[in-house]
Symmetry: C2
Subunit: 293 residues, 2 copies
């Protein structure tokens, strides 16, 4: 693992790192915020999966998560959204919603994407092992959140690995990719035409097929341009109601799909995660001055 950058922030360290991934067969870049902590402490880990076109950098720069992570003592990990680099196949027309920046958190089985697009394995196996080895992480206390395509990732991973994640939440997630254009293009392209293979990468289908978590938190902007065509929180609401999953679905009138929306509600999501990770609601003032660097 190579350090791309480390900056003091909110008494902790915001780092960006690069490593050669066995899953994707490429170099992968990710960011980790380690909050201020006592020497030897092991801290809970919040995973944040980003949306279409994003890298680790979007949430790292615009997510406004560090103040709360510093207060609550949370490690915050932001992976990239796809493999990148020479030889990595992209959308034939270079569209933003497939290929580079659009890995959809699946292990592709279709050529030419199967060669590198192994984002499920990367995010659920390889990167967690690296985080456990390289950072003061308590891997018995993990939670996961994401935005849009990354909300889809957070929901499907959280539902599939329900024993691993104590909290699962999302900002404007794609809840039923099998039923919307973004998802149909991606799942078809990466997994092939057989829709049976899509169901374990579709949060609504997973719930229909029996996957369970105790609770879900979703915030959705009411002025989000993708709400009705791509995101469809109504489908998640119906699935959770039928399955008895305690879904808190907050429709935020006026808010759009951007980081202005995400950053506004980041604090509420992180406090919700914190409670479920066993952290008191107010962990107390943190010391911004004495930096870990």
């Amino acid at each position: 693992m190579e350090t791309v950058s480390e900056n003091c922030a909110f008494g902790g360290v915001q780092g960006v790192y690069r490593h050669a991934s066995a899953s994707t067969g490429t170099n992968m870049v990710f960011s980790v915020f380690v909050p201020p902590h006592e020497a030897g402490a092991r801290l809970p880990v919040v995973w944040y999966l980003s949306g279409l076109t994003c890298t680790h950098a979007n949430v790292t720069e615009k997510g406004e998560f560090r103040a709360i992570c510093a207060e609550l003592g949370l490690i915050f990990v932001a992976p990239d959204t796809s493999p990148r680099g020479e030889g990595v196949a992209d959308d034939p027309e270079g569209a933003y919603d497939f290929g580079l920046g659009a890995g959809f958190y699946v292990d592709a089985t279709e050529a030419p994407f199967a060669a590198h697009y192994q984002m499920w394995s990367y995010v659920t196996e390889e990167l967690p092992a690296l985080i456990a080895a390289q950072f003061p992480a308590d891997m018995a206390r993990q939670s996961i959140m994401g935005h849009s395509m990354g909300g889809h990732g957070a929901l499907t991973i959280g539902l599939t690995l329900a024993d691993r994640f104590r909290a699962v939440s999302a900002f404007a997630p794609i809840v039923a990719p099998s039923q919307v254009p973004w998802g149909q293009k991606a799942l078809g392209g990466y997994l092939g035409a057989d829709r049976a293979a899509w169901r374990k990468h579709d949060a609504v289908a997973l719930i229909e097929d029996g996957a369970r978590v105790e609770a879900l938190l979703v915030d959705q902007g009411g002025a989000d341009a993708f709400l009705e065509k791509e995101l469809r929180p109504d489908l998640l609401r119906a699935a959770c109601a039928a399955a008895g999953i305690d879904l808190t679905l907050n429709l935020r009138e006026g808010y759009d799909h951007s980081y202005y929306f995400i950053s506004t509600f980041m604090e509420a999501h992180l406090r919700w995660h914190g409670e479920r990770l066993g952290i008191p609601p107010r962990a107390g003032e943190f010391n911004r001055v004495t930096c870990l660097c």
Copy 2:
């Protein structure tokens, strides 16, 4: 004035606007955050001046000011750092520290820069008039802050127009441009070789020449690569001590010159401004949900 974008954020509106500036003879872009407020209310205004290479966008995306401005009820204005566009002269070698993105908040007198580089007039006269006319601003309650070159701008403008600004603070400011390479290049290039003309654009010289404010707040990263060569907070400390200005100079070990540093201490600066703008230390919880949009 044309709206480039408006996004709901923290219960208020983060806007970006464009207008034809008479001062610079160019179109100018700036951002304004208007926090949630009662209909008809007039709100105090915090000016934020950015550093070399920046536009309004850097602090708008990375400054993490909206949560606190929403809580305290502060309008936050971020101008650009220079004129831009066709016919605007740049550094002959395209250097980052002069010309485009590096207006240094002066009215240039030297050709070819005098034609458009009129940032002092723009920031102190033209843009305030536009803000007063277009936003729910209480122009009797203004304060000013900035970063690096913008810290220089905030200090020199705050010291010169001490009756206008109730609070003046800076992150890693250039405190004595006449004595450091960045400043000597800029003031020489924009104002000419006569150093007498530089003194009113040099915070330390202004204080030596009798300018006074009651108090100043400066935060400076101890790991800032520009600290000793360009920023020189020691010179401001000496000038304030000699003049009886109550300077709070916080040296933050480990922190660098980036927005990771600025965002960490933004809350403390805004609360310090808020107190001087007559706002109770805790104005109370704001409603993120009911957006102004």
